[in-house]
């Protein structure tokens, strides 16, 4: 700070100007700046209301035409102009569920490793590497998934799943049909890799916030590391971990490009997770520029509105939980 703040031109009294005039000028700039920042903050609210309003207006024709049955109809036929959102909604929920089933335990175990087991000097490099995983653009996951991961699953994993579960009642329909490579399972697995860093990062932060006294007390009683983690750290940070999981879920629900590459874009509901399907975001990305009629565009916008409402609820719940644990940590 070489320059002294008082040397600011606004601070100096020019020869002619009186002291009162300078003070007035300062007051005016002060107020202008405050209003400027306040309006910028309000602008953030304007953006959100704008997003909701624009989506509602865009979706209105489709919602008027199909009503509430839009959400419960599976048909998606651009030729006869019949549109229903059930297949994309189903695909979104199923792929996200697959992602969370894998990413939640793995993410929490990585955070357990980072906070309790890992050597101190190794913590930062590993944490940074996991965060880099979060920084890779989703289109990279998409192209990698299409050319590398899907063929691998098709050749080595899916035939194995089909054979293994063929005669298991209940599970056989889940892993049925020819191995396409692309499909709901592939999309879910890629989503799992993508949300893993988010869950790990937040779990690690909340685990780190556990008062050392609590852990030391448990170790003093002779608990093993796992027992300390399972019975002291996890119960103490439960709300925060759930918040982190919800945040990851929000990402998974709205993720577009990685899924678009590998989902297959088929507007149908299959019991088997090896079959192609579609998600809300993939349907919009694939079809929006090709949608010629107004009703088609409007139906896709209605899909966007549904997605926004779902993610808004999930993210709001996540933020609420995370703010609760922040308050407790002081």
């Amino acid at each position: 700070m070489s320059e002294v703040a008082l040397n600011d031109p606004a601070m100096r009294t020019d020869d002619g100007a009186s002291r009162a005039a300078v003070l007035k000028r300062l007051r005016v700039t002060d107020n202008v700046f405050r209003l400027l920042t306040r309006n910028a903050a309000l602008f953030v609210l304007v953006i959100l209301s704008g997003v909701i309003l624009a989506l509602v207006i865009g979706a209105l024709p489709a919602l008027q035409k199909f009503g509430i049955s839009f959400v419960f109809t599976e048909v998606w036929n651009p030729v006869t102009e019949e549109f229903g959102a059930l297949a994309p909604i189903y695909g979104t929920l199923v792929t996200s569920a697959i992602a969370m089933i894998i990413a939640v335990p793995v993410g929490i175990m990585v955070a357990f490793f980072l906070t309790e087991l890992c050597a101190k000097w190794l913590r930062r490099p590993i944490a940074i590497a996991i965060e880099l995983l979060a920084g890779i653009p989703s289109i990279i996951y998409g192209i990698w998934g299409l050319f590398v991961f899907a063929p691998f699953l098709q050749k080595h994993v899916q035939p194995f799943l089909i054979d293994t579960f063929e005669n298991v009642p209940g599970l056989s329909s889940l892993f049925e049909g020819p191995p396409y490579g692309i499909g709901m399972l592939t999309a879910g697995l890629i989503l799992a890799i993508m949300v893993l860093p988010f869950i790990t990062a937040i779990s690690r932060d909340v685990f780190d916030a556990v008062p050392p006294v609590l852990k030391e007390a448990a170790y003093g009683l002779g608990c093993t590391r796992w027992e300390v983690f399972r019975h002291v750290i996890l119960p103490y940070t439960r709300v925060g971990v759930i918040g982190g999981v919800m945040l990851g879920l929000g990402r998974a629900l709205g993720e577009t490009m990685a899924v678009t590459f590998v989902i297959g874009n088929a507007h149908k509901i299959s019991a088997s997770i090896l079959q192609p399907g579609t998600t809300i975001s993939a349907a919009i990305a694939n079809e929006f520029t090709e949608a010629v009629s107004d009703l088609y565009t409007s139906s896709l916008t209605a899909l966007g509105l549904i997605l926004f409402v779902i993610t808004f609820i999930v993210l709001a719940a996540a933020r609420y939980m995370l703010s609760r644990i922040q308050k407790r940590a002081g």
Binding site: T37, L55, V110, G135, I136, I139, F308
Partner: protein
């Protein structure tokens, strides 16, 4: 020791502990493995096509050689404009929340909404900008692409600006106030200066975030196979070209997609490492 080891309860607890440790190591190896695998395959597939032609030629028609020049220029133009729009708004909004509104209702509502925008699906932002710009104007444009990216820049900058200003010690603010410095001058001259590295970090992170974004550009900037700096017309971008080329059946196009993917990833990772090192020095 012998008595402990022969105690079945103790043995079981130790077994569970060992299993949990193995699982934790395995989970970490699993997470890091993907990073290595994805980056490795990206380098192997992308580096072959990484010639000077990529930076000097435009995207080719199917079946012939070419480069990515128009896509790279389009991405740069839209990113620069997006940052130019998003940074002032974001910094000012973050300033309000850290300096003026620490305890008021507006700031906490904005903070909540901003956090939601931070993770909102980017494709929805694309739909939003389509509704407010593309549909009324009647055609796709680089401006619309830049605006949709700016909407993604703002929450990142708001968040980091607020966080970084909160780290500036209040004693500095009090010292400035005690010599009669008006609040606006205190913020610009003292607080901004103390938080400068952090605010720059926020802008870099925002650039890293938007330079890989594809979904919001698909129906705002669309694409353009020719070189164009006219932002009032459809504009190509690296991610959208990768999307189009990767899904095509032509080998030249797929190779260009891999090369483009490598360029984007290196850029994004370099930006986020640079951003991290800026604040880590403190």
């Amino acid at each position: 020791m012998a008595t402990f080891a022969s105690n079945p309860l103790y043995a079981r607890r130790r077994r569970v502990d060992v299993v949990s440790k193995v699982l934790a190591y395995a989970a970490t190896a699993f997470g890091l493995g993907w990073l290595v695998l994805i980056l490795g395959i990206l380098v192997v597939n992308g580096i072959g096509g990484l010639t000077l032609d990529v930076f000097t030629h435009d995207t080719p028609p199917p079946g012939s050689a070419g480069g990515l020049l128009n896509a790279i220029v389009g991405s740069l133009l839209m990113t620069v404009l997006a940052v130019a729009i998003g940074t002032p708004v974001g910094v000012l909004a973050g300033t309000y929340m850290a300096e003026y509104g620490r305890h008021d209702k507006l700031a906490s509502v904005v903070r909540f909404i901003n956090d939601i925008l931070l993770s909102a699906p980017s494709i929805v932002i694309g739909l939003f900008v389509y509704q407010i710009m593309v549909a009324p104007i009647g055609h796709f444009s680089g401006y619309a692409g830049a605006v949709s990216l700016a909407v993604l820049v703002i929450p990142v900058v708001v968040r980091t600006t607020e966080d970084m200003l909160m780290l500036v010690p209040d004693t500095m603010r009090e010292a400035a106030a005690s010599i009669g410095l008006p609040r606006a001058h205190m913020i610009v001259r003292i607080a901004y200066r103390a938080a400068r590295a952090g605010i720059v970090t926020g802008v870099l992170l925002a650039v890293a975030r938007v330079s890989g974004e594809t979904a919001p550009l698909l129906f705002t900037a669309l694409n353009n196979q020719f070189f164009s700096v006219n932002m009032n017309a459809p504009m190509p971008s690296l991610p959208v070209v990768i999307f189009q080329f990767a899904l095509s059946p032509y080998e030249e196009w797929q190779q260009l997609a891999w090369t483009g993917a490598l360029i984007i990833t290196v850029t994004v990772l370099a930006l986020s490492i640079l951003a991290r090192s800026l604040t880590a020095r403190k």
